[in-house]
Point group: C3
Chain length 271, copies 3
């Protein structure tokens, strides 16, 4: 059997060793697992940022990879613990919207009948002692390791008809024909991911002639690459996330224009 891949996405930071502890648990159960950190630096308790990290990364991992994600402000409360499977991947973590983006894409692609979600209830797949403040270590890491060893979802808990949503609004068409969306997050370079996915832009029609505004600033047409504008100039383009991204060539868009999550983005055709 190929050695299974388990990725980790958390807001635990890199200082306290919590991500490493999860790896110790996994290797104790499944010594042949290959472990890949996606991020331990998701901003604390920022579920949307974690969901975007997963959405960007998952398509680039081999089929059958297991993605554990723990951004979990509700740990120890009544929120469900999840394991999910699609024809391409497994997901393990809290049911708080963290898997909304990857799950919605899988639903569109594969249809509900090929997806499976369970609420984790069977303690046989947890550590013997579950501390209510660290399910990453005591629930999600061991569940992922058991999946890597071939355990089946139905053994792990009860089927769920649906999982938690982030409640993100798709871009909306205004009466004047322009579409209104928003900035979802800024990355380390200050590039801003927007709610305009390739699919949403497809609804608007051909890219030619489309212009992008943030607040009262015209960013011009949608470009193919940073190099179409001068250094230090803003640019709107389809980024590696397959979303409309706002950037400054060799600069930091979010700082330069003092914008962040929730800032309004307009896309449309002038006049």
């Amino acid at each position: 059997m190929a050695r299974p891949i388990i990725t980790l996405t958390t807001d635990f930071g890199s200082r306290d060793g919590y991500g490493g502890i999860m790896k110790g648990v996994i290797l104790g159960i499944c010594p042949e697992a290959r472990l890949v950190d996606l991020s331990h630096e998701v901003p604390p308790q920022d579920v949307l940022s974690g969901a975007l990290v997963l959405q960007q990364a998952v398509p680039f991992f081999p089929t059958g990879s297991i993605h554990v994600a723990v951004i979990d402000p509700g740990v120890g409360t009544e929120r469900n613990a999840l394991a999910l499977s699609t024809p391409e991947a497994f997901f393990v973590g809290p049911d708080n919207g963290l898997f909304d983006l990857v799950w919605s894409e899988a639903l569109e692609r594969w249809g509900a009948e090929r997806l499976f979600a369970v609420r984790l209830t069977n303690p046989r797949f947890f550590l013997p002692e579950v501390n209510p403040t660290f399910h990453g270590r005591d629930v999600f890491a061991p569940v992922a390791a058991h999946l890597a060893r071939g355990a089946a979802l139905p053994e792990m808990g009860l089927a769920l008809p649906a999982i938690a949503s982030l409640g993100l609004a798709a871009p909306l068409r205004q009466d004047d024909g322009w579409w209104i969306g928003e900035i979802l997050a800024a990355d380390r370079f200050g590039n801003c991911l927007t709610s305009f996915t390739l699919r949403a832009l497809g609804q608007i029609g051909a890219f030619e002639g489309l212009r992008v505004w943030v607040g009262d600033m015209d960013l011009g047409p949608i470009r193919r690459t940073y190099s179409e504008v001068a250094r230090g100039q803003p640019v709107a383009l389809i980024g590696s996330s397959r979303r409309l991204e706002l950037a400054v060539r060799e600069g930091h868009f979010a700082q330069a224009f003092q914008v962040g999550r929730g800032a309004r983005v307009r896309v449309g055709r002038p006049g």
Copy 2:
């Protein structure tokens, strides 16, 4: 033979590649090692924080794992270099208190006759050239890799009767029956680890009726989970570290109350 696990805990940071260099050295000697980062972001030269990272992580790794830790303000001076073994794990690093917490626990659990400590003196297990500023690369990484390949501690140096202590005080009972301890460290979430271990609390007796104070603030009883208090409220609980921890539900205790290492914590029964 199972593939040996080697963990790394340092204050080298993630920017300069020093942790990666240690991995290059290890893989050159023991290509089948599995490498796990516990932390490279221990605050610079903060030996106590490193000791707490190890204490929390070690119990969750498989038996036989090798833990290399390098927080080493005394590199290049006369401080000893160590390799330690217990029935559960190996440790490699400087003799400056970094292993005090894990070693004391192992002594209690296994007794001195099942533990072994050596001062590393045999250069056969070092890199050919040892730079006095980077023993992590030139001494500790190669020693760990040789342990992973099965080298025995007695070949590596001279037995030591004891290792360096951190000199931490256990909580002290006052005349009024309350116990006085302190905050040892705050983690990324602002949760504060205290010197009240489960064992120390056991001396005080049953948890029922115990209350926790920090300075002149009453944190109430010891709770089981964050969710027993409202969002934004402080809470004292037994954290995943198996110590009394002070937190704010979905908040940052250390910032909210402007406390850190050394702040006095009192535990006892009112009236």
Copy 3:
């Protein structure tokens, strides 16, 4: 066949998952690769810092290791994409000076006839779709994985006679017999790497009697270890980088003396 080692050096940061995505791509092509992060925290778009990370790390990895580095302010422009081989290692990344230091050392050591450089042009070794903003994922990661599987450089593109230089000046001898160099970078501890390599110092002659100045401050002779000065005192020594480094014992040189890249360093013999 031994399992190939692939190291990653980027300025992607640890928050957004971009380094993890590269690992997903690599493992999809070469499942047996062993992945080692050198750094994802190179300061954004700071090619010189990335070059120094590589120069320090590469000698400590086993022969045949593949080093992917992506600090790439020119992504999407006309800059070349590179794969390089020496008798010791492979390198993959943008042609912007990032490989200048390791390549110059290899040229000195092995001679031009044992080195090979190609401009990556064969899309068979890229991902099927190449986004112009993320060659790390779509070009460099898959090329490295194909090298790990045994692909040969000549299949990948056109031979290049030379690669981009950083244009660093070697230390210069003044009329008064003193040599003038500069600080190249400060690490996490505030230790400053200078342009005085061991080789450059060798031109000046025996270390005895040499003194080091930064600005108008006399740092004294070149020491062997931090412990030759008192705590809090500055010290000049040959660091683990095999360069003249400036440090403060248990302190932070760059902050203490408010110096950084470009600050002038003088080495010579008084009177």
